[in-house]
Amino acid sequence: MFVGFVSVELAANGKVLPSLFIYPGAVAGIFLALHITLRIFLPRADPLLLPVSAGLTFVGMVMIYRLDPGLAMEQSIWIAVAAVSFILVVLFLRNYELLAQYKYTLAVAALLLLASTMVLGTEVNGARLWLRIGPLNFQPSEIAKILLVIFLAAFFAEKHELLSVSTHRVLGVKVPELKYFGPLLLMWGVSVLMMIFQKDLGSSLLFFGIFICMLYAATSRKSYVFVGLALFLLGAYLCYLSFGHVETRVMTWLHPFNPATIENESYQITQSLFALSSGGISGCGLGLGQPNSIPSVTTDFIFSAVGEELGLLGAVSVVVMYVLFVARGVKVALTQRDDFGKLLAFGLVSIIALQSFIIMGGVTRLIPLTGITLPFMSYGGSSLLANFILLALLLVLSDRAAGTDAVGIKEGSSAPSHKYNGIRTPLHPLLLRSAPCAVLREYASVARLAGAAHRRSQCFTVLMRRDTMR
């Protein structure tokens, strides 16, 4: 991250002031504090999740600083706030099972949060998903999604056997009784309502996706997935027919370069594609591209800015970090002893997986674009807060599972967990020793090249490790 900041500053002003190191220093300090908290309170927590999250946060921080130095300060304050909530979760929610007892309260809270924007929300970019509290804009759906996952985990943990019972056969496929499709229909209704009243396609897609994933994880019934997908497509199609903004999204996805819309409706997506294509394989260099031509580049479109300035290599490193996060998170889920923990961990991971896929796929035109933040990287307080709480919960879960591992109750996939643990021990002292060398190497190369082409994926890996001191 230091290298990133130095590069941005060199590209922008051609010189480096000592004050520049305040942001990266502060954020690195925050992560060091989080790391120490983990060492003390959750010594057996997953060793990779925090560094990967830190890596993503750092890349996001560098990009935000490059795009708008003013926002970088706000972002670092938000990181600090999010870190505090992380510590609070680690301190007070180590007994996460308690959450299951309040599942309906949480569900109601989630729905209230979602409904609040419909009543009190302010509209930003055509979507009504913000609550204004004093000087701050707050996006309740970010918190609601975690509450929803907790509720669903508790609900399915209790009911999954019931939901899995198949009594009917339709077209040779075992299908549960019709009444068990109730929750599915309810969730579908909530998603469609979100799509209609909040015009928030991204969150709607995310909520429904999380629900389907958790339902399938809990029941292993493909019929739910098929019916769910069918319902979703039906809902999306109905919205496509009846709502202009949904139709626009689809048209701009299919024909982004249509001259009739390129200056208006498809401006964002085409600017994103222009940015990505100008990046090429190695990118045009931090501070040397024109990512500011993309609207909302610091939030939803931050991935396009990475693609432009750090190129395919930088963008792929980001994707790889998400893959790592998801893989580690799923491992946490697999090693849980009880169903609630399993579903909770998995649900939290699906938030990250689906959300990063929806927005990265959206800005690269793999799927229709729906506005949603990129976890850990996008600018935004509520998003950071939610992601750090999510991370803290996952770490609490991983610590518990590792604890049970130690006692000797193993389940499912002990093989992968063993493999990962194997890496951990030799990596630890080795990286500690190599960190100062890496710092020196990086500075030497930056000084030599004075600003242009050399900040690549390997920087991130090195930085990620160095800054977290693992």
């Binding site: 990505l276 100008s278 998801v326 697999l334 990063s356």
Partner: protein, 474 residues
């Protein structure tokens, strides 16, 4: 439960891998099509981040320069001389694109010219070439101003060449426009440009290179060159002008319907006798007439720094005697640009050799050091030297005592030829082509005034002012 979670992990990973695949497609393979999209302004922003080189007139006045606007398109053009050289430089605008030399020499002005000299390479390596290369024109802003004033707001064009080199000394078209209106960095007002586009007088049309007019009697210079060069006639050859010549039921009449009686070929040019030149054209025959016209540049694209319309004469096979006769007096299907007629005058002045016209004298780097110089280039040989000097003597007579008397300059021998091209339903176009001094020409000029009436009355005085100024500058 673990099994379904693992399946979902696989789904997640496949989704994220699909993003990587799609990204690779966009960033490696699909980049070309996306980057070339007309709405991709990244390239524009990059281009306008470069300070383009200046454009300087031959007398080193700044015609175009780039100024830092502090806007998204950082460096934008400013044309200090306004409309004076608009049709030479063209404009460079992120909004309306480029034209003229700004377009032709875009790469050079941006600083990545095709000629990579040691100096430009060194500049590039040192990172010093922050500013593009400058163009030094052959066009003299002072002569340009004189020509513009001489036209006095009338619709028309003036082209002045150095006959020995083909260097364009002045190129004026009227009405014209102020290229500064294409650079809307001061205000977002597009009304001025829209008015230019909508103007029926077509101020954006460069009449010098793209205006096609019947050359009228000025084309007799080409016919005379053909007749003399092929040995068909000599200046003394006698003709009989009866005032009206009947060709297959079509009458070629002379100006004012008067007859010149017995007349020599030389005198026929002096008085611009249509009857005689129609006879000469018929004796020459269509193939020979067209062949000589093509040697002077008709039916060819003149090699030039700006886009040029092709001056035309009909194909010999398609010409009947009426067409041959009327083509010989510059009517019928003969159409010429002012640049082409200036080349005709310059070719006679230059011993029958047509030089390639050019506008850019040299390219300089940001330090003012010359990195490329454009010399004269021979294009075509229209006549031999003897024919050219015979014709020159005849053209001197035209100015001394014929239709071109309005172009006489005391103490300087001027060779010229008038033209009064008939336009159906409107006043004739007035032409004058000339060069001076006759024996050692340094400047050749073509003037057209649209619907200006008689060439000797309206075009010749304009040409005289341009000649005088050009000779005074030498």
């Amino acid at each position: 439960m673990n099994r379904s979670i693992k399946i979902l992990l696989l789904v997640f990973v496949i989704c994220l891998v699909a993003i990587v695949a799609n990204l690779s497609w966009i960033q490696i393979f699909g980049a070309e099509g996306i980057e070339d999209n007309a709405f991709n302004k990244r390239r524009l922003v990059e281009e306008y981040a470069i300070q383009r080189g200046d454009i300087l007139s031959a007398d080193r006045q700044v015609v175009a320069r780039s100024v830092d606007t502090g806007t998204e398109y950082q460096y934008q053009r400013e044309y200090p001389l306004g409309s004076l050289l608009a049709d030479v430089t063209g404009y460079d605008s992120w909004m309306y694109g480029r034209s003229g030399l700004e377009k032709t020499y875009n790469r050079e002005l941006l600083g990545d010219g095709s000629v990579l000299t040691l100096r430009s390479l060194a500049n590039k390596l040192l990172g010093a070439s922050k500013k593009g290369n400058s163009l030094v024109l052959t066009v003299d802003a002072r002569l340009q101003a004189t020509a513009t004033e001489a036209l006095a707001g009338r619709k028309g064009a003036v082209v002045a060449l150095d006959p020995g080199t083909g260097a364009v000394l002045a190129m004026v078209t009227a009405p014209t426009y102020d290229p500064n209106v294409t650079v809307p960095f001061q205000n977002d007002d597009t009304a001025a440009w829209d008015a230019l586009v909508a103007n029926p007088e077509q101020p954006l049309l460069d009449r010098c290179t793209s205006g096609l007019y019947p050359p009228g009697s000025s084309f007799k210079v080409v016919v005379a060159a053909a007749a003399l060069d092929s040995g068909l006639v000599a200046p003394e050859t006698q003709f009989n002008c009866t005032g009206e010549l009947l060709v297959h039921g079509y009458t070629i009449s002379d100006f004012g319907g008067k007859s010149h009686g017995n007349i020599t070929f030389a005198d026929a040019l002096v008085v611009s006798c249509n009857n005689t030149f129609a006879q000469v054209g018929l004796s020459l025959g269509a193939p020979s007439l067209v062949q000589y016209a093509e040697l002077f540049g008709f039916n060819e694209v003149i090699p030039f720094d700006l886009p040029v319309a092709e001056s035309r004469i009909a194909e010999p096979e398609s010409m009947d005697p009426v067409a041959v006769a009327s083509s010989s007096i510059g009517q019928a299907e003969v159409l010429a640009t002012p640049l082409e007629m200036a080349l005709v005058a310059a070719a006679v002045a230059n011993g029958g050799v047509v030089m390639e016209p050019y506008l850019v004298d040299e390219i300089q780097d940001y330090n003012g050091k010359t990195i490329e110089r454009f010399g004269p280039g021979k294009w075509q040989e229209a006549t031999d030297r003897a024919t050219a000097s015979t014709l020159t003597r005849m053209m001197v007579e035209v100015v001394d005592e014929g239709t071109g008397r309005a172009a006489r300059i005391p103490g300087v021998e001027v060779a010229g030829k008038t033209g009064t091209a008939e336009v159906e339903g409107a006043e004739s176009h007035a032409w004058f082509i000339c060069f001076a001094p006759a024996l050692d020409p340094t400047v050749a000029v073509a003037v057209i005034i649209e619907n200006g009436g008689e060439g000797g009355m309206t075009a010749a005085p304009v040409a005289r002012q341009v000649l005088e100024k050009a000779l005074s500058l030498d």
